[in-house]
Symmetry: C2
Subunit: 390 residues, 2 copies
């Protein structure tokens, strides 16, 4: 599983003492090549963590040999000293790899850095740098699962995926269990492939994949400062897929990881798919789905197993999407509780006892559709997020 | 207190059996004149309840003699039959007033209707219409407080205000304890004045008042289908204030009622003022304040008495306001925990033990400012809203 299934990659996850629990908190992914092409998508938040600012520059260079990731601290809102810490982490990773791995010369400008954890605090560099050295020593072809575990924060399980192409594969790992929002989550994701693909092809495939997967997960409407999705290609398979083939595989990998994120969202008791159909445009469908996904009254109602379609209509009514209030239909888990904007089938027929909930909204305004994935708003969400930093 | 302090108004509140608790649920406000000018602001939600659609037409006519309000049912998403129910309520109110009040002839087109309660269910007209007749019988110069009580839903106290002008006054009542959101709340508000003022003057004063008060309350980011603010003028004082005088008094009344709404928001443990200063424009300040007010991670942190300024910055970062991430300052209850986008004073100095919280965000990008009022996100909010309709 995970990032080390594709040929040409090694990984490691170690405990450096950044987490007070003593759990693993530093991960490293190394691309042994022959290629080292890369694409990335970063948070749209204008307040970007130091590792995001750093990695944006690195990716612009077009070559990424290694990714070093830490949990236990986001290194966000830490000013110039925080950026220097990220720079030092990349330098240290590059130097350790160059001195430890035969025939490998890595520059700091080829090392992407990702961090996750509390915002506003400096990283303990005296722990992080020894952790990087330990991770370099631990690198192995079977290290994917250990790396996936080391990037967890409030996640209860590690998230990994593998998607097979024709003679090449895509592997991936992700973390994120809250602050999942438009244009992503506090989520870190590293995808690897042994396909032969230039950075431009990778970029096109990754953007389309994120657009219809991670960008449509909206767990709690909150957008993080650290979101990063990286796609590294080693070319070790010697096979060059088409854009369509690559996009399909990367999208499948992202979809699988996105579903794992929603399933493990902080304190959630429901995984909710909001299918908007009959929209005049895909943008309209996304806007409507997101508005419902972010509505606290809808989310608390679903936590209470209440198919409160009136709150769904009230959320739809705040959008600019094309629709008429008296022609909307809404189904909750297959029961059309609202037809033409008014009560229809008996709401008591709706079974909300399970974790999976599907809300289907037919705007009857066109033929476009989109699905947004979200969670309910529970007592446990309030508890976890009111106690997180204290 | 309330709507009957200004001369020329009578009111009543009675129990008609719409609420299963047996509490008062029908209110009536009568303008005895000599004038019957009116202005109104309605929800911006595109899914509008039947009484909103009705009252919009009535207000357009320029004369409102009476307002009939009910709790115990929103009459929203009820289709054409729901609109007929509203029409019938206005007709019945007009006929009862005409037959009961000497020298008064009222048409249905001069009766505004407001409803609040559950969305998606028809009103029990067999209870509502007798309630209207009872309210007509109970009309009195001291009926303001009874009317204010009859419009409560999950409110724990009735909301009333009086603001004195020079020889004229403004009185008001409001309800609303959740679903408070941009462009208002599930809130109903009736303001009365004995000033002499044409509908255009009233309209100008009311719009400006709402813009800086109710429109800046954002308790839970959810916008209702029923929001209505009405301003009725009787002219009984014989005094004609200037626009500035009228605007000041109406704004003061709305501000007072808005603060009462925030103080009584469902399940809230904090009343939070988000003061955004140093903005390039007032719109920027409002956008930033609203983004922070709607951020569930900020709201849960404050419930947990945690001055988590990193989450505040992450919320600011999602806006399009003019600012630089490394020049923002944030104070929580007077302690500047963030300066220039990074940690400053020790967060442990922040006292969050009380109900009142002030977050001050200095964007250092200009000289405009705005305040948004909101609440925290508590266990009780989740409880009330997951159990409301079941």
């Amino acid at each position: 599983m995970s990032v080390t299934v594709p040929r040409g990659f090694r990984a490691a996850g170690v405990a450096a003492g950044l987490k007070s629990s003593g759990a693993a908190d530093v991960a490293l992914v190394l691309n042994d090549g022959p290629d080292a092409t890369v694409a990335a998508v970063f948070t749209a938040n204008r307040v970007k963590a130091a590792p995001v600012l750093w990695s944006q520059q690195v990716v612009r260079g077009g070559v990424v040999r290694a990714v070093v990731l830490n949990s236990g601290g986001a290194n966000a809102c830490t000013g110039a000293p925080g950026f220097q810490d990220t720079h030092a982490t990349a330098e240290h990773t590059a130097a350790s790899l160059t001195s430890s791995v035969p025939r490998l010369i890595v520059g700091a400008g080829e090392v992407a850095v990702c961090s996750t954890g509390l915002i506003g605090e400096r990283l303990p560099m005296d722990k992080l740098l020894p952790g990087v050295r330990a991770a370099v020593r631990e690198l192995s072809r079977g290290g994917g699962p250990a790396a996936a575990e080391a990037i967890m924060t409030t996640d209860t399980t590690s998230k990994m995926t593998v998607v097979a192409g024709s003679g090449w594969t895509v592997g991936g790992m992700a973390k994120g269990a809250g602050m999942l929002a438009p244009a992503m989550a506090t989520m870190l994701c590293v995808l690897t492939t042994d396909a032969v693909a230039g950075s431009e092809l990778l970029d096109e495939a990754l953007r389309e994949a994120c657009r219809v997967t991670f960008d449509r997960v909206d767990s709690d409407g909150c957008m993080s400062t650290n979101d990063t999705v990286l796609l590294l290609a080693s070319g070790a398979s010697g096979i060059e897929p088409t854009l369509a083939e690559l996009t399909a595989a990367v999208t499948a990998a992202c979809h699988d990881l996105a579903q794992q994120l929603v399933a493990d969202a902080e304190g959630a008791t429901k995984e909710i798919a909001i299918d908007v159909v009959g929209a005049a445009s895909e943008d309209d469908a996304v806007e409507v789905g997101r508005s419902v996904a972010r509505n606290n009254l809808v989310k608390t109602a679903l936590f209470g197993k209440d198919p409160n379609w009136g709150r769904i209509l009230a959320a739809v009514g705040t959008t600019s999407a094309a629709f008429e209030p008296d022609t909307i239909d809404v189904a909750v888990n297959g029961v059309w509780v609202c037809r033409s904007g008014a009560a229809a089938e008996d709401r008591s027929k709706v079974d909300l006892s399970g974790r999976a909930v599907t809300i289907r909204i037919d705007l009857n305004a066109g033929s476009s559709a989109a699905t947004i994935w979200t969670n309910d708003l529970s007592h446990a969400y309030v508890h976890e997020n009111s106690a997180y930093s204290t």
